[in-house]
């Protein structure tokens, strides 16, 4: 006995193609909205993470290359532990705060981390990275002591980035639009199923 109202393969393929086109479209949209963002906080964090991995077995060489692209690893000497477990990063944790401008194309990014010793988490290290913009990329040029008011989020400082209110309102609107789309898809599936059912007028 064949299943009543069975879907044709061609219809299924069409739906799959439509879904893939929608996914590709969303991918392009996301790529477009992401374009042009180059935050110094992200560069500072990547540099610190890569520096932390320079002493980690297996990934050390690649980490060093990655760090050097953002800034000289030698700058990090004062915050690296003297001994550590090579199976782990040289930092047990890592957090960066919001950047503050400090001259033309120069910003200061506060950070907070714990050294990773062979025996576990080591002493707390706090400081500020100084970054310089060349073109659209940021480079670490110095390690400095913190100035008053330079704090990371867990110390009560402002978040490195914050989604604007318009984005939250937009997301709620998008949620409503998605609910409407889901409503119409469900109704369409219902109606198409009723049309395909035996004994229907069509």
């Amino acid at each position: 006995m064949a299943v009543q109202g069975e879907v044709r393969r061609a219809t299924f393929v069409k739906v799959i193609v439509i879904v893939l086109v929608v996914i590709a479209g969303l991918g392009l949209l996301i790529h477009a909205v992401n374009a042009g963002h180059h935050r110094p906080e992200g560069a500072a964090e990547r540099w610190l993470a890569a520096v932390g991995d320079t002493g980690r077995k297996g990934v050390d060489r690649q980490a060093r290359q990655q760090a050097e692209r953002i800034g000289p690893v030698a700058i990090a000497a004062p915050i690296l532990p003297t001994t550590h477990d090579p199976h782990h990063s040289e930092f047990a944790d890592l957090e960066v705060g919001k950047s503050r401008p400090s001259g033309t194309d120069i910003v200061r990014v506060p950070f907070r981390l714990h050294e990773q010793l062979a025996s576990g988490a080591g002493p707390l290290k706090q400081g500020t990275l100084v970054l310089h913009r060349s073109g659209s990329t940021w480079h670490v040029i110095a390690l400095d002591a913190r100035r008053p008011g330079e704090k990371v989020r867990s110390e009560g400082g402002p978040p490195a980035t914050r989604a604007p209110l318009a984005l939250w309102i937009g997301a709620v609107c998008l949620g409503i639009v998605l609910a409407l789309i889901a409503h119409f898809i469900t109704r369409y599936a219902e109606l198409s199923a009723q049309r395909a059912a035996p004994g229907s007028a069509t």
Binding site: G42, E155, A160
Partner: protein, 425 residues
Amino acid sequence: MARSDRYLKLLLILLISATFFEGYDSSILALLLPNIQATFHASEALLGLTRIPIELGLFVAFFLARQSDRVGRRPLLLWSVVGYTVFAALTALSWNIWAFTFFQFGSRVFLGAEFSVAITMVVEEFPVARRARALGTLLTFEGLGTIMVAILLGLGLQNGRLEWRAFFLIGIVPLLVLTVLRRRMHETERFVEEKKRRERGEGTLRTPFLAAWASPYRRNLVLVGMVYLMRSIPFFGATAWWAYYAERERGFTETQVAVYILVAYGIGCVGYYVCGRLMERLGRRPTAIIYFVGGVVFSVILFQTTDRVVAFFALMLAVGFGLGVQPVLSAFGTELFPTEIRGQAAAWVRNWFEIAGYVFGPALVGILGDHSTGAIGNIGDTVSLLMIMQLPGIYLIWRYMPETKGLELDELSPVEALLTETPLT
């Protein structure tokens, strides 16, 4: 003839290995990634790339799981356990990152099929009065699988001679259990009846690939599929990124993250059990709405608060509601479809719609929340904003989802399923 209590208990114990090892296996990859990375000298980008074929194993599992409507639930479950065990053991023997990826892919194929069949067997074998609770109990073990990995990590299993490989060797346990107990497991009565019907010429021997999309079931498949999709994208985005978010945006140490996961998951697992009980008392729809709303609210609190005490309770409740909703979702994915296509419908919902969340949820959060180049620029806000995607799911449940509380599977006719349900008031 109804199954005896003793048999149902035994069946539940046998099926628990499927859900337990799904939670266990997924968590190994999440929590031991740095160790695996160090063994194979792989970059983070390469590790990210290998996650795609690994997770696509769950998609391929669809093609295996749908065979349960043809060959039966029992043989497919038993062979899936064998397949999972073999690939778990082979993963432990991986010699490079590509061997590791291939063996994990194979492991996901069988694990995905095993999980789908386990849910179908519970739905088909347990009487209506105990079905929801059985689903709740079964799925609680998915969370316990995660806790087991955290406990073994705490005990330092990864520091032994076998390092992370020892975790995968534990995957052999289900085969040992099944070797002893397999003869006591029977084919589900509903499948046996369906098989007899087919032998009498009243049904097709081979279920067509698109049978679940046929007009009598299409509306429910689209409906349940969209609810799964809308939940899975933000949910898997949140679970994949919470540890990273806690460390990089809230200053947690690795140890604090491990303790939070262990304790909050441990207590949060009660959510599965409570869900099973609520499904029986309140019904599927109200329970699902309560859990979806709870999941959204506590996830947003978790990804916004800077207070660690609030974060702990928010994590516990987000796990309780977010993961704990699984029993009611599994009920939607199986109870609304007749026996001859139930396995296939469940596989469509889980391995097509839900897999989208596995693949796209973490990717969306990573791309939009990238601290350097993301449009939003932080993980906390990105996850919170994505949670709004669950609103359409809540609306669909409220407006369209049929209520199956107190109904035996035989009472759910396809015609009923086509009717638009009255919204909850």
